[in-house]
């Protein structure tokens, strides 16, 4: 008996079973420290994204602040006269630019939201799983095309075509930019809308069909209202994409810093905030008023997209909550 105990003991000692399985932190300081220090290090690294956002805001504000200090913000936001390099009295009114951005974005949404929602419905409800994969891949390809290629198309192909077939005096106008922005916003809208429409679940649809509704009625009266938060989030995300787009509008919108005269006249040139920054930055000297005014426009853009982001977040959480409930 003695020997078997001893055997057990040596076996136990060799296998390290002389210690309890779960060690407290005083018994395994190294493991404890490593684990928690490791977590802290990981946490800090994860916070780089917070740091990045903070730095972006900080540096844009830093560069824009002297300008905002010297010039009246009200005049900045409400005057349409953008003459930053005039010799005697440079004027920095960005209203025409803000209107240009919003005009082009909203027109783009007018084109892309109906098509986007219809396509999302098609993807989620009307085709089989395999075909869905193929179509989703095509939409991803549409999303992957670089904006320079779209701008290329806009300037070299679409602008002459618009001039020839619609008789516009100029082919680089708000319509050109809107069409292209709608193509660029479509993949975002389709994928987010499709996700939320699919997430409404089968029960809702089956209940509706059981009551004798056709597919179109189910879609419009049951599913889309149920997924409305997600769809609104999709639209807002598409809007963010369109407002933030630079190269395409720079090449395709004509860059006339005006508010279009009859407001519905899409054939006039407009200028967006993004195109102004991209176009003017290369030629301004660092530290001049013009340079800081461009940073002020950048700050404006940042604030606008940040608020749109908050709105879309709100709707996305609402969508998730309503999905969670049902």
């Amino acid at each position: 008996m003695m020997s078997s105990n001893k055997n057990e003991q040596t076996v136990a000692a060799a296998a390290g079973f002389d210690q309890p399985l779960l060690l407290t932190y005083t018994q395994d300081i190294k493991g404890f420290l490593l684990k928690h220090l490791g977590r802290i290090v990981l946490f800090v690294l994860t916070c780089t994204s917070v740091l990045a956002v903070f730095l972006i805001f900080l540096f844009v504000i830093l560069e824009a602040f002297p300008f905002l200090n010297r010039f009246s913000i009200v005049e900045f936001l409400t005057s349409t006269a953008w003459y930053p390099s005039a010799h005697e009295r440079p004027e920095f009114g960005v209203l025409a630019l803000i209107v240009g951005s919003i005009y082009v974005t909203i027109t783009a949404l007018v084109f892309s939201v109906p098509i986007g929602i219809l396509a999302a419905v098609f993807l989620s409800d009307m085709i089989s799983f395999q075909v869905r994969g193929i179509v989703k891949s095509i939409i991803e390809i549409l999303a992957a095309i670089p904006s320079v290629a779209y701008g290329f198309f806009a300037v070299l192909v679409l602008a002459p075509w618009l001039q020839k077939h619609f008789g516009f005096p100029t082919g680089t106008n708000a319509l050109n930019a809107s069409l292209l922005l709608s193509i660029m916003a479509l993949p975002t809208i389709i994928s987010v809308a499709e996700d939320s429409i699919s997430a409404t679940g089968r029960e809702l649809r089956e209940a509706s069909y059981a009551l004798g509704a056709t597919r179109v009625e189910t879609m419009f009266k049951v599913v889309i209202p149920a997924a409305h938060s997600g769809i609104i989030a999709a639209i807002v995300l598409g809007m963010m994409r369109a407002i933030g787009e630079t190269m395409v509008v720079w090449m395709a919108s004509g860059n006339a810093s005006q508010v279009p005269h009859p407001w519905w006249d899409l054939s006039q040139s407009v200028r967006t905030m993004t195109a102004t920054i991209a176009g003017d930055m290369g030629e301004t000297e660092k530290g001049s008023d013009h340079y800081r005014a461009l940073f002020a426009i950048g700050l404006l853009l940042l604030v606008m997209t940040f608020m749109l982001n908050l709105v879309s977040e709100y709707f996305l959480t609402r969508a998730k909550k309503s999905m969670g409930k049902s």
């Binding site: 780089t48 994204s49 904006s147 701008g151 009625e217 920054i277 660092k286 950048g298 982001n309 977040e313």
Partner: protein, 541 residues
């Protein structure tokens, strides 16, 4: 609503939704199709002997002896054309004669300097030869036969002057005599017309065949060769045969373009037959052949992208994107790991997620501004580097731009790893860190790789952030990360709107955009394939 009405509405709706997707596909084809077609013509086209000459001389590519044989063959065929033109010119092209007079004057001046004459004699001879030159030039540009003879007589007075004998200046007198004979024979009125038409004609011939074999090679590369592509040659041939003029049809109305046959303009002279001759024999003069210019993706380009390829641009894009990947992958994967594994749903984590989403929504031009303000003007000088745009600043900006994409796709990949893997590992006694590193991460690796490839493709296509942080349109191939670089995206923008010569070489314009689009499409296709395989492996096993 009646039942049948509802059914019809339903079917119409189905069709409309299908149409919207078909519209998308059509839009994709309309945008990509012509671009790819025209861009691919930069790589596969009918190249002429000029192309092969250019490749040999500028890039050192091609078989030297074969090119020389071809050049000789082409030149023999072209000789007839040059002879016809020269014969016509001798009576008409006063500008060339005036240039020759200037050359003789200059050469004579150099000869006098070499002779080392005393100062006064040198000045006297020089001013005399200048007077002779001016008289000759006046004779060449005059249209009145009386005036011409006056000038020529003045010049020929000095033909017996011993100081000019045996020197270059004696050519003056030969020119004067030839000219007097020629001027007696041609119609001086039409000479001006012929002169300007001839100048245009010679431009086009120069565009087709390159500079005249006896002329000096021009300084700029784009003028040293004729039409390098058969389609270019065909365009020039059309311009050769037909002159386009804008004529007024009604006063005050827009002018209308009409085409006038150039052969008619030269009716009655020697050159009338030139046009038909060139058209029939262009093949023998240019020796076109199907060429597959795969080196387009490797070669550098001559200034203005007139000849050559997009090699440096591809290299620049690769350098920028790979460097930014090096910066972003560690941060992205580690953040994703933390968010997927250790995060609880408290306020801090929600703030982090909100920041990631904010970062994803910032417009790319604002990233450019941030890159300029922070990386170029603040960060780089901290480390002693010059505060200039460079690849390092550009790739850091792009890394920040693509951080959310990386975090999102990595997190998705890590979450997609089935719980069973993790639980099995923990059950075997591994710590959670070890589990993560040896089990979860390798299983999530294909998904993370997909994310990396998607980020790469996004970064390769971005132009706005590198506009002021790393990109330039013309510059040398970078040898360090502290230099700026050309990239495919910036180059495409430059070729589309900024470059002067680009419009003359549309195949290069489209070629660069297509190179970019193809690069991105290949990366995306790779990501899609990878993802479907991962999906199958993790769910369908």
């Amino acid at each position: 609503m009646k039942a049948s009405g509802r059914v019809i509405l339903d079917k119409v709706f189905t069709v409309i939704t299908g149409l919207s997707v078909i519209l998308l596909i059509i839009v994709l084809l309309v945008i990509l199709g012509p671009m790819l077609w025209r861009g691919l013509s930069a790589v596969a086209f009918k190249g002429t002997v000029e192309f092969r000459k250019m490749q040999l001389a500028e890039f050192g590519q091609g078989d030297e002896s074969a090119v020389h044989i071809e050049t000789a063959k082409a030149e023999t065929a072209q000789k007839t054309v040059y002879e016809m033109i020269d014969r016509f010119k001798n009576g008409v092209d006063f500008e060339k004669l005036a240039d020759r007079a200037k050359d003789i004057y200059r050469d004579f001046g150099e000869e006098l300097q070499r002779k080392g004459l005393p100062r006064e004699e040198y000045t006297e001879l020089r001013s005399l030869s200048r007077k002779i030159r001016n008289e000759l030039t006046a004779a060449f540009s005059s249209r009145d036969i009386g005036e011409i003879n006056e000038h020529i007589d003045f010049v020929l007075k000095y033909s017996s002057d011993s100081r000019f004998e045996g020197t270059v200046a004696s050519q003056f007198f030969r020119m004067a005599k030839d000219y007097r004979d020629a001027a007696a024979n041609i119609d001086l009125e039409k000479r001006d017309e012929y002169a300007s038409e001839l100048a245009e004609l010679e431009e086009i011939i120069k565009g087709l065949f390159g500079p005249h074999p006896e002329e000096d090679s021009p300084a700029l590369a784009q003028f040293r060769y004729g039409a390098t592509r058969w389609d270019q040659a065909q365009n020039l041939l059309y311009r050769l045969r037909w002159k386009e003029k804008w004529v007024e049809q009604e006063p005050g109305q827009p002018l209308v373009k009409i085409a006038v046959s150039r052969a008619e303009l030269f009716a009655g002279t020697e050159l009338e037959g030139l046009f038909g001759f060139v058209e029939m024999n262009l093949g023998r003069m240019l020796l076109p052949r199907w060429t597959f210019y795969w080196r387009y993706f490797v070669d550098d380009s001559t200034p203005g992208h007139y000849f050559g390829g997009v090699g440096p641009e591809i290299l620049g894009t690769l350098m920028l994107t790979l460097l930014s990947m090096i910066f972003v992958v560690p941060f992205g994967v580690i953040s994703a790991a933390y968010l997927a594994e250790c995060a609880r749903d408290n306020l801090i984590i929600r703030i982090i997620r909100m920041c990631i989403n904010t970062l994803a929504g910032v417009p790319s031009i604002v990233f450019g501004l941030f890159g300029l303000a922070f990386f170029v003007l603040f960060f780089l000088p901290l480390f002693g580097a010059p505060s200039k745009p460079c690849i390092l600043a550009g790739s850091l900006t792009l890394a920040v731009l693509t951080l959310p994409v990386m975090i999102r796709s990595s997190e998705e990949a890590i979450r997609a790893v089935p719980q069973t893997y993790k639980e099995a590992s923990l059950a075997l006694g591994a710590s959670s860190f070890r589990t993560f590193v040896t089990v979860t991460l390798p299983a999530a690796l294909p998904g993370i790789l997909t994310g990396v490839i998607l980020s790469l493709s996004r970064v390769a296509g971005e132009t706005a952030p590198i506009l002021f942080t790393a990109g330039i349109a013309v510059g040398p191939v970078p040898k360090s990360i502290f230099q700026t670089t050309r990239t495919l995206s910036y180059g495409s923008w430059d070729m589309a709107v900024a470059d002067k010569l680009a419009a003359q070489v549309p195949h290069n314009q489209y070629g660069m955009v297509v190179a970019l689009v193809l690069l991105i499409l290949c990366l995306n296709a790779l990501a899609i394939i990878l993802r479907s395989r991962v999906f199958k492996r993790l769910k369908g096993h």
